[in-house]
C-alpha cells in the first residue's frame, strides 16, 4: 500500500458516498416510505458494476474503483438498520423478504457482471 493509493481510494469513496445520496434521493419519498428502494437500487447496481470491474480492470484501478468508489457507493449499515426498523415495526414481509431478496439479487448481479466481462 502506498499513501497515494490510500488517498485515491478515500477520495473515490467520498465520491461514491455522495453518489449514493443522490441516487437514493432520486427515488420519490412516497415510494421510499413504503420500502427503502433507493438503497436497494444502489446496492444492486454497485454489486453488478463491481463484478464487471473485477473482471475488466487491472490491479490498482480495481482497488480505486472497487474498494473506493463502489465500496463507498454501496452500503451495508443503512440496509441493516432499515431491515431492523421494518422488523421492529412488525413489517416482516418488507424486512425479511426485502433483506433476502437484496442479498440474492446483489450476489447474482455481482456474478453476472463478472461473467459478462471475464
Amino acid at each position: 500500500m502506498t499513501l497515494l493509493l490510500a488517498l485515491a481510494v478515500g477520495i473515490a469513496g467520498g465520491v461514491g458516498a455522495a453518489l449514493r445520496y443522490l441516487v437514493d434521493n432520486a427515488v420519490p419519498p412516497r415510494i421510499r416510505a413504503r420500502y427503502p428502494w433507493g438503497i436497494a437500487i444502489v446496492n444492486l447496481s454497485g454489486s453488478f458494476v463491481l463484478g464487471a470491474v473485477t473482471a475488466a480492470a487491472p490491479g490498482v484501478w480495481l482497488t480505486i474503483i472497487g474498494v473506493g468508489l463502489l465500496g463507498g457507493y454501496t452500503t451495508f449499515s443503512t440496509a441493516a438498520v432499515d431491515a431492523a426498523r421494518l422488523i421492529m415495526e412488525r413489517r416482516f414481509t418488507a424486512g425479511v423478504a426485502g433483506t433476502f431478496a437484496t442479498l440474492v439479487g446483489c450476489v447474482a448481479l455481482a456474478g453476472v457482471g463478472y461473467a459478462i466481462f471475464a
Binding site: 469513496g13 467520498g14 458516498a17 455522495a18 445520496y21 474498494v67 452500503t75 431491515a83
Partner: protein
C-alpha cells in the same frame, strides 16, 4: 456555514472508506468485511436512534446524521465487496461457506442494527430521557 448534504456525505464517506481500506489490509478476505459490516450496522443503529431521541432531524443533529451516519458509516460498510466476496466463495467450490457467509452477514447484521437501536433508546448520548 451550511454545506450541501452531498459534500458533507462525500467528506464523511472518504473517511469511512479509508478506514475500511486500512482495516481490510490488516484483516484481508471476507472475515475483515464481515466484522466491518456488523460493527457499522451496530454503530449506525445506535447513532440514528440516539439522534432521534435527542430531537428533530435539523441543525447540528441533521449535520451529524449526514456526515457520520450516511457518510462515514455508509462509506465504512460496503455491500458490493460483501456480495462479490460471496460470489468468490460460491465460485471457489465452497457453496456451503458462501451461503453461510451471505446469510450470516445479513441475519447478524440486522441483529446488530436492532441491538444498536435498543442501545440508542437506552443510552442516547448524555441526554436524560426523563
Amino acid at each position: 456555514m451550511r454545506l450541501h448534504p452531498a459534500i458533507l456525505i462525500g467528506l464523511g464517506g472518504a473517511i469511512g472508506t479509508t478506514v475500511r481500506y486500512l482495516l481490510s489490509l490488516a484483516v484481508p478476505g471476507v472475515a475483515g468485511i464481515f466484522a466491518i459490516n456488523l460493527s457499522g450496522a451496530l454503530i449506525l443503529g445506535w447513532l440514528l436512534t440516539a439522534l432521534k431521541m435527542r430531537g428533530p432531524d435539523e441543525g447540528r443533529r441533521s449535520t451529524v446524521r449526514l456526515f457520520v451516519g450516511t457518510g462515514v458509516l455508509g462509506g465504512y460498510t460496503t455491500y458490493s465487496t460483501f456480495a462479490f466476496g460471496t460470489v468468490g466463495l460460491l465460485g471457489d467450490g465452497e457453496p456451503a461457506l458462501g451461503i453461510a457467509y451471505g446469510v450470516a452477514t445479513v441475519v447478524l447484521g440486522t441483529g446488530c442494527a436492532a441491538l444498536g437501536i435498543l442501545l440508542g433508546r437506552r443510552f442516547p448520548m448524555g441526554v436524560d430521557p426523563e
